[in-house]
């Protein structure tokens, strides 16, 4: 019976609870809802779905699954039991294996099968097979073991050519290798020669020193990089000082793949592991040795970081309001612009880049399409929120964001998973550029938080001390809990930890109370903690005679903004020092304030008296402000005749021009020169017009602002909503078990399964194919390969090869040994 059909039956027989658990673990199976069990089974066997399910497996589960894959043959229906697996997994117990096999079965990654014929009947013994597509997903080196000699001979023509000679040489050197005439025979001979651990031990006893150490490097992965892998190594011209690589290559214990890679064949690898597929079975997660840090330090660091982060974000927005951040033509904010921002915030470029990214991902900055600059959206709600809510806003946005802020400033090539431009060697990732986009960032962030929480729970001491977690311990745990995801983790985790530290989720290297609250998805609790501990905003400053104002803490935003206009901020930290100078006072005067209002403001907000020198500075600067005045007018009228000018001012006909007399001989007009001249001409005067270039007036399109931009975070879907699961169950259960493969979805998957099986077994199939006009025809062919939506077939009737599109194939059935076309069956 087809594996998919078997799985379909198995799923149908499961209890609702078991199905619920399946949907929770593999939510992709029910999106969109599966119409029936056949479709569900087809989906569960689909390559993408199996891949996703495997990403969630932990290390022992993967080890069992890989061992199971290596010990079974779905084509022949040869399964394996827990007892069988125990023999190939070192250190495994039956209980542990049973538990893992159950879980894998629940996940529909493996399914029950009949015990092999001739096995003595044991009531508790259950045999399993992996789902059909596992072999495509499990990778080229399951369990880190290489391919067999026979496969290598088939796939590596260079090795195939050499295999026979190699065996001959081995025989000459006295090794007990059977004679071989064809490459396939040679492969089998080599396989037999190496497969017993004891025998290999004997072979290696004569190897040059360091050979063992070299082979150990292949312990977890069968492929290795070796310079000049295709060198001519042969036993015949081997000297006494032969190197280990030459020695191994000459005996076929390593097989060259290309110019720089070699592979350790399956039988050699297996023998090195003492015949075990898995030699280090890790049922329990590794427990890293962690230092501890006190609760006081942790909280201090977190609150300090949060206050600092919010302050810098607010300053960043102020900077963007002053001068929006320009983008490069290639996207992102360039180094020069970032440097300007860093100088303005008084932080280094790296930190400036991080905060810029965070501001943008939180929606505090938005790309203005017209000007290609990053600006603060109009009416940004964030600014006026209490600080704890500002924090939550940013944290939520960060959790959900597909950006990886810490990648900014790193070399483009170093960022895994991205195709750098060819010329980009040595260039770095710009802030807000597409290179820092990582679609899996939210998922990994979530998982990192979970791991941090796990590790903290495991190791925290009773006196409130918590473990210091570094990237290494997190990666180690991630590698155990999701080995298939390890590579994706390794590039992002250090950055995520750093960002979490900036946001106060990690303090002093340990997960903080806030971080724990976020990790278990209780943001309200974090808000409460923060509301309690964040110091309230101050609304006064201390004015000093050295012309400084010290804000002893976080200044309420309005006050801070006005002070920043009056004086220049200095220093970095919870308090801000503002220094008054002639220049800064002038700036305030330019903005329309006067001495009285400035002093009034200072008196209102100073906890102390306004010092005399400051008062003097304000008044002195104000008294001299405006010696030169700049104003705008559209045109001017000049005449040497002062009386003419005076008359003009009196004339009622010029009222529309808005004339102002600047000097006895000069008037300004609010109207354009042309218009002014027209009015003057109407009055019977004859002015000359000196028209300069008209001022360019540009109207800017204003982009509509969407409603509230407040991010609402929901954890990346680890489980589907309950309602959806129930709806899916209802759909599945209401439909009585109809004829199998009723839905198109299941049919396609079943068809593919049948095709692939036929390809492996080199069997003929009978298929119902629709042509371009919609006419269907039944043909019996031998499929050769499937890829890219097409199937290549050999047509024995016409003795040619053809390519068919898979979507044209309606139905596939094994031809049941009948190669010549008869007894055709009509498909649905």
């Amino acid at each position: 019976m087809s594996l998919i059909r078997a799985l379909s039956k198995d799923l149908e027989a499961r209890s609702d609870d078991s199905l619920r658990a399946l949907f929770a673990a593999r939510p992709d199976l029910m999106s969109p809802a599966a119409p029936d069990f056949a479709a569900l089974a087809a989906r569960a066997s689909a390559r993408v779905s199996v891949q996703r399910a495997m990403e969630r497996l932990n290390k022992p589960e993967m080890q069992v699954l890989e061992a199971l894959h290596l010990c079974t043959n779905p084509d022949t229906g040869h399964g394996i039991s827990a007892a069988g697996l125990k023999k190939v997994i070192a250190g495994a117990t039956l209980t542990a294996l049973d538990g893992i096999l159950h879980r894998l079965e629940d996940l529909a990654l493996i399914q029950r099968c009949e015990p092999p014929a001739g096995t003595p009947p044991a009531p508790k013994q259950r045999f399993y097979l992996p789902v059909g597509s596992l072999k495509d997903v499990v990778g080229i080196y399951p369990a880190g073991l290489g391919r067999s000699y026979t496969e290598l001979v088939r796939l590596q023509p260079a090795f195939a050519q050499r295999a026979v000679q190699l065996v001959t040489e081995l025989r000459h050197s006295g090794a007990s290798v059977p004679e071989a005439a064809t490459p396939m025979d040679a492969a089998l001979a080599l396989q037999r020669w190496t497969s017993a651990p004891k025998a290999l031990e004997g072979i290696l006893a004569k190897a040059p020193e360091r050979t063992r150490a070299l082979l150990d490097k292949f312990g977890s992965w069968a492929m290795g990089a070796v310079p000049q892998a295709q060198r001519m190594a042969s036993i015949a011209n081997e000297g006494p000082d032969v190197g280990p690589i030459d020695w191994l290559l000459a005996r076929g214990l390593l097989v060259p793949l290309d110019a720089s890679h070699v592979e350790l064949p399956h039988s050699v690898g297996l023998a090195l592991r003492g015949g075990m597929i898995v030699d280090h079975f890790t049922v329990h997660a590794p427990r890293p040795e962690l230092g501890l840090t006190s609760a006081l330090l942790r909280r201090n660091a977190a609150l300090g970081a949060i206050a600092e982060a919010l302050r810098l974000l607010a300053e960043l927005l102020a900077a963007a309001r002053e001068q929006p951040l320009a983008t490069l033509r290639s996207g992102g904010v360039g180094v020069r612009e970032l440097k300007r921002l860093a100088d303005r915030l008084r932080v280094d470029m790296r930190e400036a880049g991080l905060f810029l990214e965070i501001a943008a991902l939180a929606g505090l900055l938005r790309l203005d399409v017209d000007s290609s600059t990053w600006v603060q959206p109009a009416g940004l709600e964030w600014i006026s929120l209490p600080r704890q809510e500002q924090w939550l806003w940013v944290v939520n946005a960060w959790l959900a964001s597909e950006r990886a802020p810490s990648l900014v400033g790193q070399a483009v090539s170093a960022s895994a998973g991205h195709q750098g431009r060819p010329s980009s060697a040595g260039t770095t990732i710009n802030a807000l550029s597409a290179e820092a986009q990582r679609p899996d960032a939210p998922l990994i962030r979530r998982r990192v938080l979970e791991i941090l929480h796990e590790l903290t729970e495991e190791a925290s001491a009773p006196d409130g001390r918590a473990p210091v977690l570094d990237a290494r311990s997190v990666l180690e745990r991630a590698e155990w809990s999701q080995p298939r995801m390890a590579r994706r983790f390794s590039s992002l985790v250090p950055g995520i930890l750093r960002e979490a530290e900036l946001l106060g989720l990690i303090g002093s290297g340990a997960l903080t109370q806030l971080g724990a609250a976020v990790a278990v998805e209780q943001p309200e609790r974090a808000l409460d903690i923060l509301g309690e501990h964040l110091p309230a905003a101050v609304n006064h400053v201390l004015l000093q005679a050295d012309l400084t104002a010290v804000a002893p803490g976080y200044l309420s935003p309005g006050l801070g903004e006005r002070l920043a206009l009056l004086a220049d901020a200095e220093g970095q930290g919870p308090a801000t020092i503002y220094r008054f100078s002639e220049g800064s006072i002038r700036r305030a005067l330019d903005a329309g304030q006067d001495a009285a209002s400035i002093l009034q403001f200072l008196r209102e907000h100073s906890a102390t008296e306004v010092p005399q020198p400051l008062e003097y500075l304000v008044q002195d600067t104000a008294s001299r402000h405006g010696r030169l005045r700049v104003a705008s007018s559209a045109s001017f009228i000049q005449s040497d005749d002062e009386t003419a000018i005076a008359e003009l001012l009196q004339e009622s006909g010029t009222a529309s021009l808005g004339l102002v007399r600047l000097a006895p001989t000069v008037l300004t007009s609010a109207a354009s020169p042309r218009e002014t001249a027209r009015v003057l001409r109407e009055l019977g005067l004859s002015p000359t017009v000196q028209e300069a270039e008209p001022a360019v007036v540009r109207y800017k399109r204003t982009t509509a602002v969407p409603g509230s931009a407040r991010p609402v975070y929901s954890a990346p879907r680890s489980a589907p909503a309950e309602d959806d699961v129930e709806a899916q169950l209802a759909v599945l259960r209401q439909r009585p078990a109809g004829p199998p493969a009723t839905s198109g979805e299941a049919a396609a998957q079943l068809g593919l399964e049948a095709l692939e099986r036929a390809i492996r077994l080199k069997q003929a199939v009978t298929m119902n194919v629709v042509d371009g006009q919609g006419n269907s025809a039944t043909e019996t062919v031998v499929p050769v390969s499937v890829s890219g939506g097409r199937v290549r077939v050999f047509d024995p009737a016409r003795d040619t090869e053809r390519v068919l599109s898979i979507h044209r194939i309606v139905d596939v059935e094994p031809a049941a040994g009948q190669v010549a076309g008869h007894a055709h069956k009509q498909g649905t």
Binding site: A307, G507, L547, T548, G573, T608
Partner: protein, 548 residues
């Protein structure tokens, strides 16, 4: 978080709110490792520097205590990176130790092998070292102790100097405390210095630094070399020592341009030591040719470069630096600390004033408007002449007359930079002028007359900046300053700070021409005093004349 008086900033400064109830406690706690940078009226600021942290380690404070202090008194969370940085910095101190080895003499030892390897590979350090004894020990040429310590400091691996000091030739000295007593801060400063071995004591002018020197000598009871800036000041040291200690005329020698006496206590001027003949310093022998147990550097902020080099070779002798303003315009404060020793005592001027040991001072900046013709001349002048033009404006001369008239019966100094201007003012006020060309005897005579009250007004150039005891001057008028020199301004104010008999406040006028370089430089000069809490009132010339 607690409601403490400190705010720890991530830029490595610490703000101390002075009016907080725990301020004094916190100040004492952080003074051990942070350096006071500014002390205006409400919020003082301290800075954390590697040097300060290492000095704290040398004084026996460890990182844990420092962190604990910061966390205890801080009002807000302390930036975590700063805590990490402090721990890291302090852990670098003492990885290398200078020790006396009975067999090899001075050696450098370490428990941290890689550090020693790194250090002995440094190009500049290699020549200072002798043979390697074992993996962790290397011989040091004893004459290079100071040099080595300084270079190690620059490399960031400060050495823990455990080699100790030579005692010097013993000589009995004790204080004559009749009719006066060591003030508490003087006592504390002396104790701090002696406990630390070597170092700098910073006290405001008029707060009795000479007495700290005398007390140190009395503690050590050893032959002492005192280095001072000039002959007048040498005489004053001598007088003071005769008055305050058991030393007699015969025991104190003067070593200057005119007299070359070497006695158990010898007072030498920097000038004579740095006199150079034929490429060598003939008088340097005074320093290393005798077995001094203590060397006192007066006005250490003026220490000339050759003395720096010489001091490097004197690391085995106790060194005491005295100053009012450890601001060097050449930025070599760090070298003072590493060669003479860390700051052992420092008090904001205003604190000493509050205790009544120095007179309160009222600083007034009077702004004069240049008359039209001078403004035009100023606007058209070459850059090099501009400062002279604006600071010697004739409106200032007229204003000086007005101000002098406003303080009848008070001892008054007029201080300036440009001799022509001073001569003119002297003539207008009918007062004697002391300048560079005035002989030492003449100076001494005029100062005595001024002290006695026979002369009420004295016009002085910058020769009177340092170490001249003018007890009763209560008003000073600065008509021109030497560009932006902060320490000069402080020294000039210092002239007024000796406490007055009637407890009067001193008055310091700085005359400044508005909208010119003069105003800019004045602002620079005033920064040190403003940071010490001396706020300048600013007045217009017309108000100043009328108000007084």
């Amino acid at each position: 978080m607690s409601d403490g008086p400190l705010i720890v900033q991530s830029d490595k400064t610490i703000l101390l709110e002075v009016d907080h109830e725990l301020a004094t406690e916190a100040r004492h706690a952080i003074a051990a490792f942070a350096e006071l940078e500014r002390a205006p009226e409400h919020v003082h600021s301290y800075r954390l520097t590697p040097l300060g942290l290492w000095n704290a380690r040398a004084a026996g404070l460890d990182a844990e205590k420092v962190l604990d202090t910061l966390l205890r008194y801080s009002r807000f969370p302390v930036p975590h990176s700063l805590l990490v940085d402090i721990e890291e910095t302090m852990s670098r101190y003492g990885r290398l130790r200078l020790e006396k080895d009975p067999q090899h003499g001075l050696v450098m030892r370490t428990d941290d092998y890689p550090v020693l390897e790194e250090v002995i590979r440094a190009k500049k350090i290699a020549p200072l070292l002798g043979p390697r004894i074992d993996g962790e020990t290397v011989v040091v040429h004893s004459s290079q102790r100071g040099q080595l310590k300084q270079l190690l400091l620059k490399l960031g691996w400060p050495a823990d100097d455990r080699a100790g000091y030579v005692d010097g030739t013993p000589h009995l000295i004790h204080l004559n405390e009749d009719g006066w007593q060591l003030r508490p801060y003087q006592k504390l400063a002396t104790e701090n210095f002696w406990a630390g071995g070597s170092g700098v004591v910073v006290l405001p002018c008029g707060a009795g630094k000479t007495i700290v020197g005398a007390a140190a000598m009395a503690t050590g009871c050893t032959t002492t070399l005192i280095l001072v800036t000039n002959t007048v000041s040498a005489r004053q040291w001598k007088d003071e020592l005769l008055k305050r200690t058991s030393l007699t005329e015969d025991e104190i020698g003067e070593y200057s341009g005119s007299v070359k006496e070497v006695r158990p206590v010898t007072i030498a001027t920097y000038q004579v030591l740095t006199t150079r003949r034929g490429g060598i310093y003939p008088h340097l022998e005074l320093v290393d040719g005798h077995d001094w147990g203590l060397i006192i550097y007066d006005e250490v902020h003026l220490l000339p470069a050759p003395i720096f080099r010489m001091t490097a070779d004197l690391q085995a002798r106790r060194r005491l630096g005295l100053t009012a303003t450890l601001v060097r315009e050449d930025g070599r404060e760090g070298e003072v600390f590493s060669l003479i020793g860390p700051k052992r005592y420092d008090a904001p001027w205003k604190d000493i004033e509050a205790q009544g040991y120095i007179a309160p001072a009222d600083c007034v900046e009077v702004r004069v408007d240049l008359p039209r013709d001078e403004r035009v001349a100023y606007a058209m002048a070459e850059d090099a002449d501009k400062y002279r033009l604006c600071s010697t404006s004739e409106t200032k001369t007229a204003l000086v007359e007005q101000l002098v008239a406003a303080h009848p019966g008070e001892q008054l100094l007029v201080i300036g930079q440009y001799i022509d201007q001073l001569d003119e003012i002297g003539a207008r006020l009918n007062a004697p002028v002391i300048k560079g060309e005035t002989s030492v005897r003449m100076r001494q005579k005029l100062f005595d007359a001024f002290r006695a009250g026979e002369i009420q007004t004295l016009v002085v150039s910058k020769v009177a900046n340092f170490s001249i005891d003018l007890p009763e001057a209560s008003v000073a008028i600065q008509v021109s300053g030497s560009f932006g020199s902060r320490q000069e301004e402080a020294q000039r104010l210092g002239r007024l700070l000796r406490p007055k008999k009637d407890g009067r406040a001193a008055r310091f006028y700085a005359l400044v021409a508005r909208d010119t370089l003069d105003q800019e430089f004045a602002a620079k000069r005033q920064r040190f005093l403003a940071e010490q809490g001396y706020a300048y009132r600013i007045m217009d010339a017309k108000d100043a004349g009328a108000a007084e």
